[in-house]
Amino acid sequence: MRLAIFLITLVIVLFFASLLSGAANAPIADSIAALFSGQGPLGTVMQHIRLPRAILAIIVGLSLGLAGAAMQGYLRNPLAEPGLIGISSSAAFGAVVALQTGFAASFALALPAAALLSAFVAVFIILLLAGPRGGALTLILAGIAISALAGALTSLALNLSPNPYATSETVFWMMGSLKDRSFTHVQIALPFCVIGWIALLSTGKALNALTLGEDAAQSLGINLSRTRLILILGVAAVIGASTAVAGAVGFVGLVVPHLLRPLVKARPSALLWSSALGGAAMVLAADIAVRWILPDRDLKIGVLMAIVGAPLFLHLIYKTRAELS
């Protein structure tokens, strides 16, 4: 309970910090007044640039953290992350095709729609490959195959690109960013994410039972096929939608559950909601940091996450090794 209060407070504080961070260095009181009034240029900045950006950071962070905790719980592996089953790379492939073919410029939601569509095609193929009764291992193998294929096709699209501008735009998009997003992006991501969040949060009891392995969980009354279907569709919805609006943001789904696991006594169900909140806090913090560190250079959030996340993860591995020896 104390952890929940702490994480919610942290998200709220970071949400307001995100609203107050940006190129227009206005006084705090003016910014908050403009947020509610919407008057003047500052009102436009607050309501149409910073507010959707901060909301998207929460949506994307909740999604990445929750999907990471769910994947780790289902696969019983602290190294699992949402990217493992190929959803994010497939969504990225859809977006790359949209950017390279010029489809992305045809209407505002073309890019996220292509990314989402590609993510769901990937899910369909994964479910076909893994089969109705397949266990965790077949899911990982199918995911690795899809991930590799999507990666190769993305490279092919970049390789054959006739237009250097489209290529650089694609490469930057793939680094992940929340810059220049609008409420239209919130509108496309939110419905998928809400459905995905509900689906993933509903797997808590099954993930707890899976602590004992698949056979024991099933003998405790857990329908594993249904759990797996809910989990894959939930991860696809939240990761597909998040990648569609923010590009590829790695490490959140891997590091956040790892950081919070000791604080929830390793209970997979408690790790779901706590990682969701932790993920939201981490993405908000990263999105504030990219605006503070290099305000003029458009530092990408995916790049920052990897730069900060990788050493943090190495530290966690070192700590785990020390505990095990």
């Binding site: 009891k205 707890n208 899976l210 602590t211 056979d215 024991a216 009354g221 696991r261 390793a266 209970r267």
Partner: protein
């Protein structure tokens, strides 16, 4: 009242029958040891009886839904998996999943831990225990499910002699209290001493089912295990000792 039955149950792996038309009827309150050489189909038979793998034929548990089955039969698989560093009482409380809430303060959790001699282990982290202690915790988890049927796959493998005897005593006491216990066992000496009945399997078929004295005959030991063994009914129960491999 007969509680645990199978009728002509078979499991195919490809075209090869791993379990071959097994018909078995275990009465309530019996502790039955499922014995047989490696690869005889013991684990597969128990998993098929629980509906964990597809099979043909019928079994009493398969006539129930997954949720009903979880209240009827507890299952302790051979691979003793504990994925996360959770507290022992929280792990044992997972046995209450089918009953709704998994609460470490549930009286059933305390009873199961006491039964397995784990009273001082409530707050210990399960993954930090020794292999034998983990095995006892997982048996406590299955006991906490408080089902009329308990099925365990090699529950005493890897335990020290005292823990083996204690675990077999717990199973026998559970059976005496009216529960039906089916456990696959490789220690034929303990099986003979503690089980009410033995079911002997070989190459997917049920070869014999009856009291230890009826099942553990010299001829059957030769035919199925290719061993010569010593069997005697002593003053405090049967004594079985494998002596040599037959050439």
């Amino acid at each position: 009242m007969t509680q645990l039955t199978t009728q002509n149950i078979s499991v195919l792996r490809g075209t090869c029958p791993v379990v071959d038309h097994v018909t078995l009827s275990i009465a309530q309150g019996d502790f039955v040891g499922l014995i047989g050489p490696n690869g005889a189909g013991k684990t597969t038979l128990m998993r098929a009886m629980l509906g964990l793998i597809p099979s043909t034929g019928t079994a009493s548990l398969l006539e129930t839904t997954l949720a009903e089955r979880a209240k009827l039969a507890a299952w302790m698989p051979q691979n003793r998996e504990i994925a996360w560093p959770v507290r022992v009482d929280e792990l044992v409380a997972l046995g209450r999943t089918a009953h709704g809430k998994t609460d470490a303060n549930d009286p059933a959790v305390g009873r199961a831990l006491t039964q397995m001699g784990l009273d001082n282990f409530h707050a210990r982290i399960a993954t930090q225990l020794s292999g034998g202690e983990q095995a006892r915790v997982l048996i406590a988890r299955a006991i906490a499910q408080e089902t009329p049927i308990l099925m365990a796959d090699e529950p005493i493998a890897g335990l020290d002699p005292a823990s083996q005897l204690a675990t077999m005593t717990v199973f026998r006491d559970l059976a005496k209290s009216g529960r039906t216990v089916l456990a696959s066992l490789h220690d034929l000496g303990l099986a003979a001493r503690y089980c009410d009945k033995l079911a002997l399997m070989d190459r997917g078929k049920l070869i014999a089912f009856g009291t230890p004295q009826d099942v553990l005959t010299a001829q059957r030991m030769k035919d199925t295990f290719n061993i010569r063994a010593y069997y005697e009914t002593g003053p405090d129960g049967p004594i079985f000792q494998p002596l040599e491999v037959l050439s």
